[in-house]
């Protein structure tokens, strides 16, 4: 570790992994509720489990991004963090606020939570992914601004590289677009229109800048390829991302009361959205093939390559599958959407955070790489989780195709619940692969506690 303030990232990474485990556990609960409808009812109804599942995902990814930034920025800027104390304080504030929110979801009915947290003052709750009570939303803004202040000041007093610039842009964009979560007009169409300014412009916009810069950073470290080359391709990839992704927002504006020209704009531009992901995969493999050093951390390289491939499959291919308006007419809001969501989030964002952790954690623990034994276990966890996610996606896709056929495409359509009964086999298979995913995650956590012949830190 070159700068001792980078060590604050460790806290963030540990929290991220713990919350990730929580997310997967609640995912398994929901998966079971899909087939055993009254499982844990009324203690944890499906809507509560889902809220916990998706909110934990967002929060652990944010922890991962922030940890990644705290690790990356000092090293890129070649200076200590502006204020490590602030970083530690923000960690605890964010963790406690997040935990209280989750406890709130689980402990009291949502309507009560809304009442006691002042939803009447400014109604922002009860919208998908933005279920957080007002104080939590405000807390996210405060933490995000203080965090941005901290890392921006660090960059300003140090060296400005392309990687840190793109990362900063992504993080600032994340904070700015989150502000739209406070806009909730009574007009449902407008509500939905601007809701996507948070959700889409996050995951298919500014988050990809964060993804690109974290990946570029790790690739420089593990391959030793010239920074100029990697940073140039980072720019090319994020350009393609925003050029296709911003207007690509239109693929959410087909059926929510917005004008119908979005069917054309959205289809054309989102059809091009796989291009940046494809470029990212080619880029990652190319850099690794042209590597100028043999970094002892093979696990980190595996995660980096995996991110490229899985992001392309999940976000690129599975996104393209249902993005054209005539196809989306039938698949909108079915298990196809769920299939795409799972693989895209895992492939792009979960995996890039795990890549960063895989590279940085050994360094923060005073070695260049973990022992071979630990790395082998980590690689096992990589394959178990990744293959499980591929199968989860395939089963959900199969369920979705059947659902579309039975409920929407057939000349004698059947009702939603009748269709769900017909496809329950695939939900069972999904739940089974979900358990495999959990085993992979447990192995991942175990890999942190395996000793052996650790590779000494590099000079």
């Amino acid at each position: 570790m070159q700068y001792k303030s980078q060590a604050v990232a460790k806290l963030y990474f540990i929290a991220a992994i713990a919350l990730f485990a929580g997310q997967v556990l609640f995912g398994l609960i929901m998966g079971l509720q899909y087939v055993v409808g009254d499982f844990l009812f009324p203690a944890i109804p499906f809507n509560v489990a889902r809220m916990v599942h998706t909110n934990l995902l967002i929060v652990w990814l944010l922890f991962g991004f922030m940890g990644g930034a705290y690790y990356l920025i000092p090293e890129e800027s070649e200076t200590e963090l502006y204020s490590p104390k602030l970083a530690v304080a923000l960690f605890w504030i964010f963790l406690v606020a997040g935990a209280l929110t989750i406890v709130g979801y689980l402990a009291v009915p949502y309507a009560t939570l809304a009442k006691i947290t002042g939803n009447d003052l400014l109604e922002t709750m009860g919208r998908e992914f933005l279920e957080q009570p007002l104080p939590t939303k405000l807390g996210i803004v405060v933490v995000a601004l203080a965090f941005l202040f901290n890392i921006t000041m660090t960059v300003l007093k140090g060296k400005k590289t392309s990687i840190s610039t793109v990362l900063l842009l992504g993080l600032w964009g994340l904070a700015v677009f989150f502000l739209f979560s406070f806009y909730n007009p009574a007009n449902l169409v407008k509500d939905k229109f601007y809701w996507w300014w948070v959700v889409h412009l996050w995951v298919e916009g500014v988050w990809e800048l964060i993804l690109g810069s974290l990946l570029a950073f790790v690739l420089i470290k593990v391959t030793g390829v010239d920074r100029e080359v990697i940073e140039k391709w980072l720019y090319v990839i994020v350009t393609l991302t925003l050029v296709t992704g911003i207007i690509g927002t239109g693929h959410h504006y087909y059926w929510i009361g917005t004008p119908e020209y979005w069917q054309w704009w959205g289809s054309v531009f989102s059809a091009l959205e796989p291009i940046p992901f494809f470029a990212m995969t080619v880029f990652a493999f190319n850099m690794v093939n042209r590597r100028r050093r043999e970094h002892p951390n093979n696990a980190a390289t595996l995660w980096a390559l995996g991110t490229g491939v899985m992001a392309f499959l999940g976000a690129g291919v599975w996104g393209f599958l249902h993005t054209l308006a005539p196809v989306n007419y039938y698949t909108h809001g079915t298990q196809i959407t769920a299939a795409h969501g799972h693989m895209a989030f895992y492939g792009a964002y979960a995996m890039v955070v795990l890549t960063m952790i895989s590279y940085a954690m050994p360094v923060m623990r005073g070695r260049a790489a973990n022992s071979n034994r630990a790395q082998v276990i980590e690689m096992w966890s990589f394959w178990l989780m990744t293959i499980a996610m591929v199968f989860i996606t395939l089963f959900l896709t199969a369920a979705g195709i059947l659902q579309v056929w039975l409920q929407r495409f057939s000349s004698t359509p059947i009702s939603f619940m009748q269709a769900q009964d017909q496809i329950s086999l695939f939900y069972w298979l999904r739940e089974g692969t979900g358990v495999v995913f959990l085993i992979g995650l447990i192995l991942y956590i175990v890999s942190f506690f395996v000793g052996g012949d650790e590779k000494p830190a590099q000079a």
């Binding site: 080359v229 140039k232 391709w233 090319v236 350009t239 393609l240 050029v243 004008p259 119908e260 020209y261 054309w264 704009w265 289809s267 054309v268 531009f269 059809a271 091009l272 291009i275 470029a279 080619v282 880029f283 190319n286 850099m287």
Partner: protein, 205 residues
């Protein structure tokens, strides 16, 4: 692209700097990646237009008559002229006549400005008649395609203006024309798109 068809990530770096390979396109590979991406976006839009027109031939033929073909033709002339000016500018720099090159670029900018004015008058006319993207399918395509192109003209003019300043400052000289050639290629792309767009939307029946 180049004859050896290198992979996306290798090409620009595997080439030696300032390699004047015979027959290779001017500018740089990555600029061509963007130009092809842009042409792809326009191409998909054009295909969508053609496909939709097949299903609503009457509507499209009727609505096409409401467009001002003379304005479209004038704009075609303006863009082709400006493209020619840009080509002259590149030629001039190759012969180290940067002053002339700057004037050619200014001429290209003037033609581009003329295009914007003519198109602006057309838009004002249509908007004044209460026409919008939601009027009908034809106007949805007409406005989407032309406005998307209109914004490309503006961006292209920003690029040309920067190139003109740099040329005047003497940043480009024979053998060091990468930026100029790349920007010129982009402007020719903007021109090319209009040369397809004009007959497709204004004329073809």
């Amino acid at each position: 692209m180049t004859s050896s068809t290198p992979t996306l990530a290798q090409a620009p770096d595997s080439l030696p700097p300032h390699a004047a390979t015979g027959g290779a396109p001017p500018g740089d590979l990555a600029v061509w990646v963007f130009i092809f991406a842009e042409l792809l976006a326009f191409g998909v839009f054009f295909a969508a237009y053609a496909f939709t027109r097949m299903r609503h031939v009457e509507l499209f033929d009727t609505m096409q008559l409401t467009l001002d073909r003379h304005a479209g033709a004038l704009n075609t002339f303006l863009l082709i002229t400006s493209s020619w000016c840009v080509a002259r500018a590149v030629h001039a720099v190759e012969h180290t006549r940067n002053g002339a090159a700057t004037r050619w670029l200014a001429g290209a900018l003037a033609c581009g400005g003329g295009f914007l004015i003519v198109k602006g008058i057309e838009y004002a006319d249509k908007f004044g008649a209460g026409i919008s993207l939601s009027t009908n399918t034809f106007y949805m395509f007409y406005l989407s395609l032309t406005f998307f192109h209109f914004m490309h003209v503006i961006l292209g003019m920003v690029v040309l203006a920067i190139l003109a300043v740099q040329t005047r400052r003497g940043d480009y000289r024979p053998g060091h024309m990468n930026g100029l050639e790349s920007g010129a290629a982009y402007w020719h792309m903007v021109d090319l798109v209009w040369i397809v767009l004009f007959p497709l939307v204004y004329v073809m029946r």
